[in-house]
């Protein structure tokens, strides 16, 4: 049999070597193709770069915003007023129970006597209060929730937990606006995820279309190689590598765009931070985040070209 003859001639190790060689050839060849069509390649790279830079830029904005607001997290407190009949010993016992809750970072007990002393000092009604034979003020516990407990839903849980304690009469958040800010950040975060998904889909289409055009440009070549016995995987290899190069170069381009933008924003931001007497400075992507972005680019490039190759390569047959 003809087919058998060619198969038995090659040992597995030789086949593997040929396979490896073919990959190396496609790898270099596709890079050469990038260079040969430099202008259109750079345009494609730039489009992918800008597309990736948009969600990455939003992400960076959020990260920096969170860095700014992280300092405010500590100022979010819950004031819990205890029932008037709770004495100091019972209040202390409640404190230890509260601190066992994983959502609570710290708690401060203001005993009835302390509250009274404070009130006397601040209100100016000290004489009036002295007339009272009983302390009318309840004990108060100031509770500092953990920052990650301030998300939608979880903040409710903390309050519910507090209300489930029999000693507590009323519990309420202070500084609602910080909580609202976190709420807004939460929404933006979600928006960035959705937006990234759309952009990712867009990059797939861009790469897919570029590869489609490349496939039809090489129509003659594909027909000839098929006639001389090239398998589909042999023919698709250089196109997949081309997608790989587009994705990688697009990822690098988006990193360059982001760094450039940050560089341009650095001065005005630090001037503003100075006005607030803040040490804040803009952060770029960390090494890990940069790698993730590059990996996303490579994945989108490869996947986009793979889809295109599946759709279009098989329709080209010698005739």
């Amino acid at each position: 049999m003809l087919a058998l003859r060619t198969r038995t001639k090659n040992k597995p190790s030789a086949l593997f070597k040929a396979w490896l060689l073919s990959h190396a050839q496609s790898f270099v060849y596709s890079l050469g193709q990038y260079y040969r069509n430099l202008l259109s390649s750079i345009l494609t790279t730039a489009v992918i770069g800008i597309s990736l830079a948009l969600p990455a830029g939003f992400y960076l904005l959020l990260e920096n915003a969170q860095q700014v607001t992280a300092g405010w997290g500590g100022s979010i407190q819950i004031t819990a007023f205890l029932k008037p009949d709770i004495n100091d010993a019972a209040a202390k016992e409640l404190m230890t129970r509260l601190l066992d809750n994983p959502n609570i970072e710290a708690a401060n007990l203001i005993s009835r006597d302390q509250a009274l002393a404070e009130y006397k000092e601040l209100s100016g009604f000290s004489e009036v209060i002295e007339l009272l034979d009983d302390n009318p003020l309840p004990s108060v516990i100031i509770i500092f929730p953990k920052i990650d407990a301030l998300t939608e839903g979880k903040d409710r849980q903390v309050l519910d937990f507090l209300y489930s304690q029999p000693e507590i009469e009323i519990a309420q958040y202070d500084q609602q606006w910080v909580k609202r800010l976190y709420g807004i950040i939460d929404i933006i975060q979600r928006f960035v995820i959705i937006f990234s998904a759309f952009i990712g889909f867009g990059v797939l289409l861009i790469v897919g279309n570029t590869i489609r055009m490349a496939i039809y440009q090489h129509r003659d070549e594909i027909e000839i190689t098929k006639l001389f016995g090239a398998t589909n995987s042999f023919i698709q290899r250089p196109f997949l590598y081309t997608g790989f190069w587009y994705g990688l170069s697009g990822g690098i381009a988006s990193w360059v765009f982001l760094s450039l933008t940050l560089q341009l924003l650095k001065q005005p931001v630090s001037r503003l931070a100075e006005l607030y007497a803040s040490e804040f400075s803009l952060n770029n992507l960390t090494a890990t985040e940069t790698l993730i972005m590059l990996a996303c680019g490579v994945f989108l490039g490869l996947f986009g070209s793979w889809i295109s190759v599946q759709r279009h390569l098989r329709t080209i047959e010698p005739g």
């Binding site: 049999m1 003809l2 060619t6 086949l15 040929a18 003659d220 027909e223 000839i224 098929k226 001389f228």
Partner: protein, 229 residues
């Protein structure tokens, strides 16, 4: 080597291309398929190359029944065939060396093996000195010789040529045919489709004449093995 038994072939458009074809070409033979344009010469070659599939009958190439060759195995089947085209179909974005090397690269041969075999093939067609030139710098006859070098470089068992001299003047045509004859003499089975009867007759090889998709019994086709030298 090539055996057709009652082969029918119909294109998807409904056009009947070949009707009841019976023929047998021995291993190591050289034969011509003659006939006017549209007589079915190209269709017959396409069936052998598995570019098209026949609808009825049986085709056996080198002991292999083509009906049993699955689509996924077609690439491996084709690696034992060399193709020559009327319009050469060279790839103009690469050198002549790279054009000829194509079948060897596809089959996964090593670098030194490729260099050796391509040089030998180009030497055989007399174009070794043009190895690094672009196909576009060559004349039509030279381009066709590059096409022939590419078709034999992987030492196929069977060489198929579709109107290989269609674009060449009579003198060049004869040279090209002599080249095919040389490859035939080292054992390659050669099947050439051509409408150029004057040139075919000069070659004094077996001629299979097609007319309207049939092999008529007159035209000297009475015996399937007739005209064999």
């Amino acid at each position: 080597m090539i055996r057709f038994n009652n082969v029918h072939m119909q294109y998807q458009t409904g056009q009947l291309a070949l009707k009841n074809i019976n023929m047998h070409i021995e291993q190591g033979a050289m034969a011509f398929i003659a006939g006017r344009s549209g007589a079915g010469k190209s269709s017959l070659l396409k069936l052998i190359a598995l570019i098209e599939r026949h609808n009825r009958g049986q085709i056996i190439i080198n002991g292999q029944n083509l009906e049993r060759v699955r689509n996924s195995r077609i690439p491996y089947y084709r690696r034992n065939i060399g193709f020559v085209f009327q319009d050469h179909r060279l790839l103009n974005d690469r050198t002549i060396f790279d054009n000829v090397a194509l079948p060897l690269i596809i089959a996964g041969h090593g670098h030194t093996e490729i260099r050796k075999r391509v040089s030998a093939a180009l030497d055989k067609v007399g174009l070794l000195n043009k190895a690094n030139a672009s196909p576009m710098t060559l004349s039509g006859g030279e381009q066709q010789r590059v096409g022939i070098a590419r078709a034999v470089v992987h030492r196929p068992l069977l060489l198929l040529a579709d109107e290989p001299t269609g674009n060449l003047d009579p003198a060049l045509s004869l040279d090209t045919m002599k080249l095919f004859e040389q490859f035939n003499q080292v054992g390659v089975t050669v099947l050439i489709a051509s409408h150029d009867m004057d040139m075919i007759k000069k070659m004094r090889k077996r001629i299979i004449t097609l007319r309207d998709g049939r092999i008529p019994t007159h035209f000297g086709n009475t015996s399937v093995n007739q005209n064999e030298e």
